[in-house]
């Protein structure tokens, strides 16, 4: 199978990239582990930021103010030129989504409705009730159908076919048949989303493993800023299913066991709408100091009762249903017990502002990529935005990369890649290795949650890095029990674990090395931000002995670092 452009992943970034590349006339296909509408973009709830100035309270909003909020939210680690691109492209990308049919909620005048979100100076988050991601995902899938884009459904990408100088395509596993095949492509765009399952407590889908980060990493592309992991303040206890920030945007309270709105101590002005890193830390401090509720190993209450039935049913029907289904609690009548959970990785495959990696022919976009627009902490409502803005840019860059050129795909490189990867999978199926998926995976996830969590310090991080390296060594002696080829979940999940361990190691190594607190990286032994030594991006390069870290300076355009007060 050959195409000019193959997009790996059918979520928001992947579909947006594919539509752009197809509109430019490139023969474009999507290869996805899930049917595209199953992607985890669909679980995004609260909305997508763009300075549309549609509400009476945000008449003076502008892309520049959105960029400033993004840079400040990032704790001055975002590349400021990229943040400006993100926010200046935002309005046209949102209008385009509306033109394609996204059913945004509306103002009385019929304009796209906007709500307040954390860390934003104005109500800037365009929303469609609390199911914004679902509606955008389905709309983009509809556009992919309209453009006749070929989709390889339920194929798992396994490796890239690169000769070191150029990427020629990839190798993938067809879950439905068990077949392993090569896909030639002059441009490959990785858009595989998040990596939450590396952690125990996560809002992410079962399939948000991030294993493809390992695929790019092993092909020589560095992973950037991996130590910056976002913990969302409000996930349901136990399952860690998301309760949108929109709940607080609509006026919801966070309350401790003393009945206090404790955010007054940590962010007196912004209160519950401080950025996520700050709210998650505040919740964790309250729990650690004994002001939490005992449920779920410690939690706070998200209290929406004062919003009233009508507003909850109109603006937040989705999270109401979730709390009823998974906790038996109706938020109209009772507060919802919540706790922070891993939600997003700010880091990812290192790309430039057009999604290009250092490997020609390889692009990345969306959560799996790091441009970087989020720096050390992403603002709520900026991830869907990143998907559509960077998806479009990467799709355009890939489409232009292949335009008017005769294909440079070398069959020999593809054949070698498929032979090597098939042999690895065969060996895994035949292995009599004693290690097993569940043991290694649980230990990885528990270690990451316990030791590379909201608060970090030297000793536990050192232990975590050692544990991850030991698990990687044990992974070489892993066997699978299910030997069949077709829809072999044991095999797929084992393959995924390999990539997850690679990514986990870069998170642990990056976090241990960074001796400061910035954004979501909060160290008890280095409590302040250190702009002199650490206002720089981490680049983790794969070596056989573990991650080799390099650093790269942050691009500054307009804004000098300042203290973040909210």
């Amino acid at each position: 199978m050959k195409h000019q452009v193959i997009v790996v992943g059918g979520g928001l970034a992947g579909l947006r990239a594919a539509v752009e590349s197809a509109m430019l006339g490139a023969d474009t296909a999507v290869l996805s582990l899930l049917y595209p509408v199953r992607s985890h973009s669909g679980a995004a709830q609260g909305g997508v930021n763009a300075a549309l100035a549609n509400m009476p309270e945000c008449k003076d909003d502008s892309p520049a103010k959105h960029a400033y909020d993004t840079v400040k939210g990032s704790d001055f680690l975002a590349d400021q030129d990229c943040a400006e691109i993100l926010t200046s492209d935002a309005p046209k990308r949102i209008y385009e989504l509306e033109h394609w049919g996204v059913p945004f909620s509306r103002t009385p005048e019929g304009r796209i409705a906007q709500r307040p979100f954390g860390g934003a100076g104005y109500p800037r988050t365009c929303y469609a009730a609390d199911k914004t991601g679902l509606y955008i995902l389905h709309t983009l899938n509809e556009q992919a159908v309209k453009h006749g884009i070929k989709v390889y459904n339920e194929w798992a990408a396994l490796s890239l076919a690169s000769d070191g100088a150029l990427n020629h395509g990839l190798v993938a596993l067809n879950l439905q048949t068990g077949e392993i095949a090569s896909f030639g492509a002059d441009a490959v765009i990785i858009a595989t989303g998040g990596a939450g399952r590396i952690f125990k407590r996560t809002s992410n889908a079962m399939q948000s493993t991030g294993y493809t980060l390992g695929m790019a990493y092993r092909a020589g592309v560095p992973l950037k800023d991996m130590e910056f992991v976002q913990f969302h303040p409000t996930t349901i206890i136990g399952t860690n299913i998301l309760m949108t920030e929109g709940a607080r945007g609509e006026g919801g309270y966070l309350v401790n066991n003393q009945g206090e709105r404790f955010m007054s101590k940590y962010a007196p002005k912004a209160m519950e709408l401080a950025p996520r890193d700050i709210v998650s830390r505040s919740i964790q401090i309250e729990i650690n100091e004994g002001r939490g509720f005992p449920d779920g190993g410690g939690c706070m209450h998200l209290d929406l009762r004062h919003l009233g039935r009508e507003k909850i049913l109109e603006r937040l029907p989705g999270i109401r249903d979730l709390a009823i289904s998974f906790l038996g609690i109706d938020c109209i009548e009772k507060p919802v017990p919540i706790q922070p959970g891993q939600h997003f990785i700010m880091g990812g495959i290192d790309t430039d502002k057009d999604g290009a990696t250092i490997l020609p022919g390889l692009f990345a976009a969306g959560e799996c990529a790091a441009v970087s627009v989020h720096g050390a902490n992403r603002l709520g409502g900026n991830s869907l935005l990143e998907c559509v803005v960077m998806g479009q840019r990467a799709g355009a860059a890939a489409g232009n990369f292949v335009k008017g050129k005769s294909s440079a795909i070398k069959d020999a490189v593809l054949n070698d890649a498929v032979k090597k990867t098939s042999a690895e999978v065969d060996a895994l199926l035949k292995s009599d290795g004693k290690e097993r998926l569940v043991t290694l995976r649980d230990e990885m996830a528990q270690t990451m949650t316990d030791k590379i969590g909201i608060f970090r310090e030297e000793k536990p991080m050192r232990e975590a890095l050692a544990t991850i390296r030991e698990l990687s060594a044990r992974f070489r002696n892993i066997g699978v029990d299910a030997k069949n080829r077709k829809f072999n979940l044991d095999l797929l999940r084992t393959i995924e674990l390999g990539g997850m361990l690679d990514a986990a190691e870069t998170i642990a190594a990056g976090a241990l090395a960074r001796k400061e607190s910035r954004g979501a990286h909060s160290r008890l032994d280095f409590k302040t931000r250190d702009d002199v030594n650490w206002m720089k991006h981490t680049l983790a390069h794969f070596t056989a002995d573990g991650a080799r870290l390099e650093y790269e300076s942050v691009v500054q355009t307009k804004w000098q670092p300042e203290e973040r007060k909210y």
Binding site: G101, S105, G110, K131, T139, T239, F487, L489, D490
Partner: protein, 238 residues
């Protein structure tokens, strides 16, 4: 408080088995345990060969539609406890089985694609958003919530008998655009839904409406489109 529960699961690989086997596993129930998490428990601890689809585990991705104790549901949001001590889990009915609980969705997606499932706009869009009043937006509220899980498709008796009948999911999707004030597909889309395999084959049995995990009524959508088709025909537009 734990309770022992018997989960009986449909097992079949059509390449190897001419008939399905029903395999029973015994697990300890816990408060809050869902059918999906019970399946993961089996996969990880008791039988690594079981195949099923899942992803979001929060009732939004539509992967895990299954036939649970005789009803199509999403495994992820179905609590084990109210189902009793013996639970039967089968794949969505009337669809070819690929393996165990994984069905072949090809016919489902083909039908979806047939209704031109995207906003059709004839005129160039304005520079900013098209205006739509909150009341106009409210008309599609129910139908934009469809997650394409195929629970309705696989419970519809008509859909089961006919490869061609567009079925409740595709027709509800068509209605999502027919009822959208911004869509200009008008008569063109109505012609698709008015075809021999369209809305007039619905017998209003309401199976789809009863089994939709998102409480959407494809039956309502279908009847509304019948009215629109008739109006278009009587007024000479079709």
């Amino acid at each position: 408080m734990t309770d022992s529960i018997k989960l009986t699961i449909y097992r079949r690989d059509p390449d190897l088995d001419t008939k399905p086997k029903y395999q029973t596993y015994e697990i300890e129930s816990q408060p809050g345990l869902t059918v999906l998490m019970a399946l993961y428990h089996l996969l990880e601890n008791m039988d690594k060969t079981i195949a099923f689809r899942a992803s979001c585990r929060s009732a939004v991705c539509g992967s895990c539609g299954m036939h649970i104790n005789g009803q199509n549901r999403l495994a992820c949001e179905t609590q084990l406890a109210p189902l009793g001590n013996e639970i039967l889990i089968e794949p969505l009915p009337h669809l070819p089985v690929l393996k165990d609980l994984v069905v072949d969705m090809t016919s489902f997606w083909n039908k979806y694609e047939k209704v031109r499932p995207y906003l059709i706009a004839m005129k160039n869009p304005p520079e900013k958003e098209r205006l739509q009043s909150p009341e106009q937006r409210k008309r599609i509220d129910e139908f934009i919530d469809c997650i394409l899980c195929a629970c309705c498709h696989s419970t519809c008796t008509l859909d089961a008998w006919s490869n061609d009948y567009l079925g409740p999911a595709a027709l509800a999707k068509a209605y999502r655009f027919v009822a959208d004030s911004r869509d200009e597909g008008g008569v063109e889309r109505l012609k698709i839904v008015a075809s021999e395999e369209g809305v007039f084959r619905c017998h209003t049995i309401f199976n789809c409406t009863e089994e939709c995990p998102k409480k959407i009524s494809p039956t309502f959508a279908i009847q509304e489109m019948k009215k629109k088709v008739l109006v278009a025909k009587f007024s000479g537009k079709m």
